[in-house]
């Protein structure tokens, strides 16, 4: 896995005027990583082996986009995240998404389901099971029908925006992305815990809503796109 200095010379261009330096499969792997949410070794074997054999070069291409490559060799998946550094200010290539209270609760449930399943197998869960576990968060004054609607919106958020679950066969069954193992880690869980405690302590949501508005305006630079 050494980055050959004569790599550029040895690569045949893929089309007229092509100046790329990666072989085709590695480029496809690179694109898959950028498009996200992750590259799965089980689903795309050729791209996975291209990634492993060309890891140094691909890592370097990602660095040029301020992205860091995370590879889980045991679970056979890889994904990208923003490079974390204090040395200088760098753009955030991948965005972060704001979470509602129910989103965070659902993430915890999904993470817990991943934990109780075998560590290497695929984990497919039913919408119903997830909702059932979230029932404890419905305060007595909240209408059940309304709460279900909120649950649906969080579920769709998980699926379409955060992309941490993927539909598996039927509408109400979903595979939990293995990436969730790494992005919802001990640190993230503790952060959620702390936030919950803060919410419980800061009783009175008006104060909270106000605070939140500040937070959004402060954090909006995070949403900055790579191109802007």
């Amino acid at each position: 896995m050494n980055d050959k200095p004569d790599l550029e010379a040895s690569i045949r261009p893929l089309w007229n005027g092509d100046t790329g330096v990666l072989i085709e499969q590695s480029r496809r792997a690179l694109l898959e990583l950028i498009k996200g949410p992750y590259l799965s070794g089980a689903k795309t074997t050729t791209l996975w082996s291209a990634l492993l054999s060309d890891e140094v070069a691909i890592r370097s291409r990602l660095h040029e986009l301020f992205l860091e490559l995370v590879i889980d060799r045991v679970g056979e998946f890889a994904f990208v995240r923003n490079v974390a550094t204090d040395e200088r200010a760098i753009p955030s290539t991948v965005r972060t998404a704001p979470l509602t209270f129910l989103d965070t609760a659902m993430l915890l449930v999904l993470r817990r389901m991943l934990l109780s399943a075998d560590s290497d197998g695929r984990v497919i869960v039913g919408q119903e099971e997830v909702y059932e576990q979230l029932g404890v968060y419905r305060s007595t004054d909240r209408d059940e029908h309304d709460f279900d609607r909120r649950l649906n919106s969080s579920w769709n958020n998980m699926k379409n925006k955060l992309r941490v679950i993927h539909q598996a066969g039927e509408e109400d069954r979903a595979e939990i992305s293995p990436v969730l193992r790494l992005i919802v880690d001990a640190e993230q869980i503790s952060a959620i815990s702390a936030e919950y405690q803060r919410i419980a302590a800061n009783d009175g949501s008006s104060h909270y809503e106000h605070e939140h508005e500040d937070a959004t305006s402060l954090e909006s630079p995070d949403d900055e796109r790579l191109t802007s």
Binding site: I34, K35, G36, L65, F79, V80, N82, V94, A97, P98, T100, F101, L102, D103, A105, L108, R112, L115, D118, S119, D120, G121, V123, I124, V136, Y137, R138, S139, F147, K161, L162, R163, V164, Q167, A168, G169, E170, R173, E175, I183, D185, A186, I189, A191, I192, S193, E195, Y196, Q197, R198, I199, A200, N202, D203, S205, H212, A215, E219, L226, T227
Partner: protein, 483 residues
């Protein structure tokens, strides 16, 4: 007391055993029929979506025949999975999930099959096979070598005697009825194997879950499990289930055994009596070894994956990590309940989740709409409707249907001159215009409205290909006007 303790034990089984539970449900007949139809044939595993479709189709038919089944296939399958009749697994090569029968459901299916078509259990072949096994067991377990030798010698003498009888031409092969009975007996035993496989797999899965739970959760026994895994003891393969399974699979995978088995099956199927076997039984026997290999290969993979996963789990120290994470999750979820009283479910929090995808959008991807692309490139051909040609339609109908009107007229016309003639006479007078179809038509008319006699006659006609043909048929006579 024994009746009491047994009652307790069985009452527990009635509640917990999937086989018993299935047989007790109101819809047991429908469940067994549906699951048996779709999951107990050669395909024992089906994609969920395909199973729903198949069952929905059947449900429609059942409802039309006054079965009361208000739910959808999907709802029923979910119910049956909860009840432990179905097992759902992620499909290996696609995104979805598959269903297969649980060991319990297989047991129920077999039980019902036995009720519907009872096989004679007290057959000669079963008795002789038990006798052979018993005597073999007696020999194999005898600690006294002289006695063991004695028994083996006796066995050899019996064989020698049999050889002599064959040489003298005295020994006869067993009659077809008894041979067929033995085959059915073998089939009955062989058909029990799939549920054995399902049970073995379920057992291994349980073992795996249990070991993992022990590693993560309890401290006292955890040490023992960890130590053993570290020492390289393959807990799953070394379990009772693992040992007996590996004995079985070694036998199945032994090429010599497999070839001999296949040869024997080939020879048995060549025998005359085997012609009476159902095609499905013949296919089952032919594919038997392959099926066993597939099943045991699959279970092998499962065991290997479990054992490897377990060892890795312990070695990578993931379990410590998992224990910590479990603790953190529990705490977080508890504070979440507290927090839920102070916040609306849809209210934003200060938390953000980092996405793992870059959303790609570029002005370069925008394409202008080109109305030219919508133009049809091939010229439109106009087909003018014409007046239908009655003759052409008639010819078309005659090519596909027997012209009974023509045949009836021919017979009735002949009845004006004579009142007793045969199908052959009609064909001589009015040659078949539709080839063999005319002959069949005449025979049909004669069978319904004429008389059948004991004699035979030969009829002649020209086929559609204008070749002369003849057939010998039972003589049918026309004696009265046809309707």
């Amino acid at each position: 007391m024994s009746a009491l303790s047994k009652s307790h034990q069985f009452r527990f089984l009635v509640e917990t055993d999937a086989t018993w539970r299935l047989l007790r449900t109101d819809n047991a007949a429908v469940i067994v029929a549906l699951l048996g139809e779709h999951l107990s044939g050669e395909n024992r595993r089906m994609l969920a979506a395909e199973l729903y479709e198949a069952i929905d189709h059947d449900l429609g038919m059942l409802r039309a025949n006054e079965f009361e089944l208000p739910q959808t296939a999907q709802a029923y399958c979910a119910e049956w999975r909860k009840a432990g009749f179905l097992i759902r697994r992620p499909a290996e090569d696609t995104r979805g999930e598959t269903f297969e029968l649980s060991p319990g459901a297989l047991g129920a299916l077999r039980f019902v099959e036995q009720l519907a078509a009872p096989r004679q259990t007290v057959t000669e072949s079963r008795l002789s096979s038990i006798a052979t096994q018993l005597s073999q067991l007696a020999i194999d377990t005898d600690p006294d070598t002289t006695r063991r030798l004695e028994q083996l010698h006796a066995q050899r003498d019996r064989l020698d005697a049999q050889i002599e009888r064959i040489n003298a031409g005295e020994e006869d092969i067993i009659d077809p009825a008894r041979a067929a009975e033995r085959v059915h007996d073998i089939l009955a035993q062989a058909e029990e194997l799939p549920s054995d496989f399902a049970r073995v797999r379920a057992k291994f899965e349980e073992l795996n879950r249990d070991l993992r739970a022990r590693i993560v959760e309890s401290d006292a026994s955890q040490r023992a499990v960890l130590d053993e895994v570290f020492r390289g003891v393959d807990l799953i393969s070394e379990s009772d289930e693992g040992l007996s399974f590996s004995g079985f699979s070694a036998l199945v995978l032994d090429p010599a055994v497999g070839t001999a088995f296949d040869d024997d099956i080939e020879r048995v199927l060549d025998r005359d009596f085997a012609g009476k076997l159902r095609p499905s039984d013949r296919r089952f026997l032919r594919r038997f070894i392959t099926t066993l290999k597939d099943h045991s290969g699959e279970i092998h993979d499962v065991i290997t994956a479990f054992a490897r996963g377990l060892r890795r789990y312990v070695q990578s120290q993931d379990y410590q990590h998992d224990r910590k994470l479990r603790e953190l999750l529990r705490e977080a979820q508890a504070s979440g309940v507290e927090a839920s009283r102070h916040i609306k479910p849809y209210s934003p929090t200060h938390l953000r989740l980092e996405l793992s995808a870059v959303s790609l959008s570029s002005a370069g991807a925008i394409r202008l709409y080109d109305p030219g692309e919508q133009n049809a490139s091939t010229p439109i051909v106009r087909h003018e409707p014409e007046t239908a040609d009655l003759e052409a339609l008639r010819a078309l109908a005659r090519a596909t249907e027997i012209d009974f009107a023509e045949l009836t007229n021919a017979v009735n016309e002949m009845l004006e001159h004579a009142n007793n003639f045969t199908v052959g006479d009609v064909l001589t007078r009015h040659p078949a215009t539709q080839g063999v179809a005319s002959v069949v038509g005449l025979l049909t008319l004669a069978a319904h409205q004429g008389e059948l006699t004991d004699g035979v006659e030969t009829v002649h006609w020209r086929g559609i290909d204008h070749q002369a043909r003849a057939a010998t048929i039972r003589t049918h006579r026309f004696t009265r006007r046809l309707q």
